[in-house]
Subunit: 354 residues, 2 copies
């Protein structure tokens, strides 16, 4: 499934708020429509939001009027920066906007509409190529008849259409391997139950849905050959922030000797972050914990703690699967070496939420 | 809150299916009404169901007609045994029925109605006394300003009105201690979110609700001074079956050096069970994992794995809080010694589900 595609001068997205029961493609022809789609989570997933920011900036170049008219450049910037603020915690969105605005800076305004589309298309293609290389490397870790476990949704829907942790399973299936994936439902927002199950079913990958509380016992009773998760941010020492629940899963995996794999493009590495202690953790509204989608089951007003992410310490991670292949411990060295092989310095980086 | 009370020849219960939003007392004057209440989970919790079996047998003695008429004894047995089958996996229910029927065996049928009420009242009082002694012992483990974590619902509602793991917190509060309890919501049936929060609020205990996936990170970020859980069955070596999620919690507790306390009356020890490998694990309907209470969020027909319980190995348990005080490792010895101090041999034992 393609979460977003640029088709005939507009952005077409799958409305993820209706999944899994309805698969509806929306055609977003204006910035206003894109803003609404992001605010209402019709479009989500850190890498996908980064691309939405880039394509949205291309829309801004079109909506800002005549490039020859006075004030065109500042109108583009205002429109694009307003888009970046729609989900202030999702820094990828701002990152995508910034990538395109930086590219436009040196060019004549008359070229902006075309240049913006070119730049967004390049970012889109790069994300896709990185995803494909990553999935090819990760699929080597799968074996016929194995059983794997994943958390949250790190599939095509969350990215440019290829995926990371979940993309590895899809690639394994394409290679003809038969294996089973246990899917953590991923409370509170249930991305595993709603999206990962759907993507695995579409790809014909055998799977069973479990509650997050069943993962440790699955390792003990059913046996699990590996855990694969995505990443929202990776520190230079390998400490990895990902959807809440990843840390408990990593502790259970260590207790059972189950390899714990992180799958993410190198754009998820934050060079400004030496270790996990520097990663801020977003805390969200308690209503998410008191119920789900309009149904409340806890007593009204029950106090909550609702961190959206946690941090898996590097020592619990077996390897980090990237577009350059598997990075192994010590991660301080392997990550540094991988970054140095990137042509473009990894300065403006995704630091976001899914 | 009293989940069930015998008042003027009938059983009064709180309808737990309406909690937390409505607190409604139902008066059950017939076996038919009791059967309906158990089948629809208006009454739940292993120890509470055991008492319901006992009180239901007293109702059977009344509904079976004239004790002097032929066939009275077999009518009583049929009615009581039909009650025991309402939740076949909840063996406590059958245990309560069996306790009363065994007591009646040696008596003249004319005495059965009165004897059955006496026996049920005795079991009820014993469960309450055991709960109070257990909570008094457990409260010694709490400290002013501490932070504790619990899973599922092991409070007054699940028992004769005193509770086990949760009862300890209520006793600590009665003693004037101020501390905080983190409450696992306890998917899939959300007993923590619905019932534990309610009981803590009523008792004025500070608490915050979290999803099960947040517990490990709470230990890392917030700090937790102890985990308290109940037990559905304890093997002779201390291995403990409890609500699914208990095992992962125990692994996280060990990784953080957090003491893991099991609180249960000695009637939860199964002398027929040398260790956890012998404890069968009930698997329930996948609809519980695909959604909650009529709301389905996973794709229709998604395969699931839904064990209702897991097993915490004895080596992860710091102590078992019982009506005889704290049992320490090695549990094989401390449990055997405790059982030998019980006056009544622990033969027909609760082996049930909550």
């Amino acid at each position: 499934m393609e979460p977003l595609l640029w088709v005939d001068e507009a952005l077409e997205i799958i409305d993820q708020s209706l999944l899994p029961d309805r698969i509806l493609t929306l055609r977003l022809e204006s910035l206003a429509a894109l803003r609404e789609a992001i605010a209402s989570l019709r479009l989500r997933g850190a890498p996908a939001l980064g691309l939405a920011g880039a394509w949205g900036t291309a829309l801004a170049c079109r909506e800002a009027g005549d490039p020859a008219a006075p004030g065109y450049e500042s109108r583009v910037r205002e429109l694009a920066e307003a888009l970046a603020r729609v989900r202030p915690t999702a820094v990828n969105l701002a990152w995508g906007v910034r990538q395109v605005l930086d590219t436009l800076e040196a060019a004549a305004p008359g070229d902006w509409p075309v240049l913006a589309v070119d730049c967004a298309a390049r970012l889109h293609a790069e994300d896709r190529a990185a995803g494909q290389a990553l999935c090819a490397a990760g699929a080597e870790l799968l074996r016929e008849g194995g059983r794997y476990l994943t958390h949250c949704n790190a599939g095509p829907l969350a990215t440019s259409g290829v995926g990371t942790a979940l993309g590895i399973f899809l690639e394994g299936r394409r290679r003809g391997l038969d294996f089973e994936v246990l899917v953590d439902e991923t409370r509170p927002l249930l991305q595993g139950a709603r999206l990962t199950t759907l993507e695995l079913r579409e790809a014909g990958v055998r799977h069973r849905l479990i509650t997050d509380s069943m993962a440790a016992f699955a390792m003990a009773r059913l046996g699990v050959d590996g855990v694969f998760i995505g990443a929202d941010r990776i520190a230079l020492n390998g400490d990895t922030a990902n959807k809440i629940g990843s840390y408990g899963l990593a502790l259970a995996a260590r207790a059972h000797g189950v390899p714990f794999h992180v799958a993410a493009p190198l754009s998820s590495v934050d060079s400004a972050c030496p270790n996990g202690a520097g990663i801020p953790i977003e805390e969200r509204d308690g209503a998410e914990v008191r119920g789900y989608a309009g149904l409340r089951w806890a007593p009204s007003g029950t106090p909550t703690w609702n961190p959206a992410f946690d941090v898996v310490p590097a020592e619990l991670i077996q390897d980090i699967v990237t577009e350059q292949g598997l990075l192994a411990a010590p991660f301080s060295r392997s990550i540094r070496d991988a970054l140095s092989r990137l042509r473009v310095p990894n300065s403006h980086r995704a630091r976001s939420t899914s």
